[in-house]
């Protein structure tokens, strides 16, 4: 693994019991990049994030972060790994019994012995960077979806992590909040020297801000490249995904028996015997 690479995934396989989710995934993400993982719902994107954060263990292969295999980490090493990791959940996952201020202060209070005055300054700085310093007294239920996502982002970067994982950061946002969130991810990655991994299916917004894209389909990497490369690709799956075509390599219909069988066209069962009609 070169010094430039922060996350390296090799021959990764993952299955929930007999159900295979990821097959033979190879990826590497360089420091300072914003990398998107795209694909249809249920293709295994979020599972990949959980494997990177150490919430799941691979069935085969490895996920290495900063040269260390995540699934081989003992409890203390995993805790250290997670302190250098920020995760933004799909709907923010703010602690509903804590104010915006206390949510952002949470990781600082849990993992540092900083005096309360310093924590106050750090929290307000983090909130300033997402434009919500003035909202620090609000409770999570008083925040809109976009605001909650930004508070969660401030919380995710509270401990100045090296790597931030974003799980569907654009879901359910209005166009303004969506653009704000996208720009924030790009700006914070650049100014704080982070590496960001975004799991999303928002093609338009993602291609504006990312450095590299992986397309995942049925647990495999279907295509990858820079935004320009994927825009000009001739790959049928990527083309279908980017242009939102109804049918293609990702079929519109869920796998099923044939129409003839389901509707009895051609043969109808009467009294236990097939009768042609």
């Amino acid at each position: 693994m070169s010094d430039d690479t922060l996350v390296e995934i090799r021959d990764l396989e993952f299955a929930y019991g007999p159900r295979s989710i990821l097959k033979g995934i190879d990826m590497h993400m360089r420091r300072g990049q914003v990398v998107a993982m795209m694909g249809g719902s249920g293709c295994g994107k979020t599972t990949l994030l959980k494997l990177i954060s150490g919430s799941l263990e691979p069935t085969a292969g490895s996920v290495q972060v900063n040269g260390e295999a995540v699934h081989e980490m003992d409890t203390d090493t995993l805790a250290r790994h997670r302190r250098k990791l920020g995760v933004l959940f799909q709907f923010g996952a703010l602690f509903t019994d804590l104010s915006v201020f206390d949510n952002v202060a949470f990781p600082l209070r849990e993992h540092t012995d900083l005096p309360e005055e310093l924590i106050r300054d750090l929290v307000l700085l983090k909130l300033q960077s997402v434009g919500l310093r003035g909202a620090h007294t609000l409770m999570p239920h008083q925040c809109s979806g976009g605001m909650a996502r930004r508070v969660a982002l401030a919380r995710a970067i509270a401990l100045d992590p090296a790597l931030v994982l974003f799980d569907e950061p654009f879901t359910g946002l209005d166009p303004i909040s969506l653009a704000v969130t996208g720009n924030l991810i790009r700006r914070l990655t650049d100014t704080l020297g982070l590496t960001s991994i975004i799991v999303t299916h928002d093609v338009a917004e993602s291609l504006k801000i990312v450095d590299y894209v992986y397309f995942i389909s049925e647990g495999r990497i279907a295509a990858h490249g820079t935004p320009n490369e994927v825009r000009n690709t001739t790959d049928a799956f990527v083309h279908q995904f980017i242009f939102g075509e109804e049918d293609g390599p990702m079929p519109f219909h869920y796998p099923s028996r044939s129409i003839e069988e389901d509707f009895g066209i051609g043969a109808r069962h009467v009294g236990g015997k097939a009768r042609h009609v």
């Binding site: 959940f89 996952a93 949470f106």
Partner: protein, 264 residues
């Protein structure tokens, strides 16, 4: 016919295996909560906050119920005792009924409905909204940070609430027996004082409420932590907390009573 029998047997077998698996999982969960309790107690403010959540917020229902149960005991007790010319023993009857049985059992049942369900709902919703996962990826142990304080908050609150239930109940019995009906106050209190033994009656009652407190705390926190992360899952878990707690309280009460009071 043979197929139906086989399907029935398979269903029973599956239920037994699932039940055993769940019991093992619950035991392991409880063990982890207990061994990580040091972290919860090192920040005692978290436990105190949960004592407020479980205990203080349950005070109204406990005190009002205790008062009414005591008043009913006063009425019913007088009605029976007066037939045998022992109306002065009303204080003894009210106090023993409350400290031995009704105080611990009824307050535990009320506590399971009021606080146990709230604990399950809170933990279950935290799980459904990924708050527990968020904590985990921040390298903060949700068992120590969320479940432990809830567990100890409930386990500490119930014995205190049961004591208050009994005290208010005795006062209710006094109101009806002495103030309303006119039983002699001196006889009411002195007979109670003479008949109620601290170790045999009060301490055994306290032991019962401690055991019930642990049972309700374990069931409520486990059901919340194990709840499927959906609206239906959390509502089902809340119902299971109340039903399982009620059955556990009554079964434990029988076992404890048979050890504590039989043959004396």
């Amino acid at each position: 016919m043979f197929d139906a029998l086989l399907a029935g047997l398979r269903h029973i077998g599956r239920s037994v295996i699932d039940g055993s698996w769940r019991l093992g999982y619950a035991t392991r969960f409880l063990w982890l909560v207990l061994i990580r309790s040091g972290l919860s107690f090192s920040r005692f403010g978290l436990v105190i906050r949960k004592v407020y959540f479980s205990g203080v917020l349950s005070l109204i229902i406990i005190l009002v119920s205790g008062l009414f149960v005591g008043m009913v005991l006063g009425l019913q007790g007088y009605e029976t005792l007066v037939r045998y010319g022992s109306a002065e023993a009303l204080g003894t009857l009210v106090a023993l009924s409350l400290v031995r049985e009704l105080g611990p059992v009824v307050s535990a049942l009320l506590f399971a409905s009021r606080a146990g369900s709230a604990i399950t709902a809170e933990i279950g919703l935290m799980k459904a909204t990924e708050q527990l996962s968020a904590m985990e990826v921040m390298a903060v142990d949700p068992l120590a940070r969320v479940v432990g304080p809830h567990f100890w908050g409930a386990a500490i609150s119930l014995p205190l609430l049961a004591a208050m239930f009994s005290a208010v109940g005795v006062f209710g019995g006094y109101l009806i027996g002495v103030v309303l009906i006119g039983v002699d106050a001196g006889a009411f209190w002195s007979q109670m004082q003479a008949a109620v033994d601290f170790r045999h009656d009060i301490l055994n009652g306290v032991i019962k409420s401690v055991v019930f407190g642990f049972a309700v705390a374990a069931i409520a926190t486990f059901e919340g932590y194990d709840a499927p992360p959906t609206a239906e899952g959390v509502s089902g878990a809340t119902t299971r907390t109340v039903v399982t707690s009620a059955l556990a309280i009554l079964a434990l009460d029988f076992v404890l009573t048979s050890f504590m009071f039989t043959g004396q």
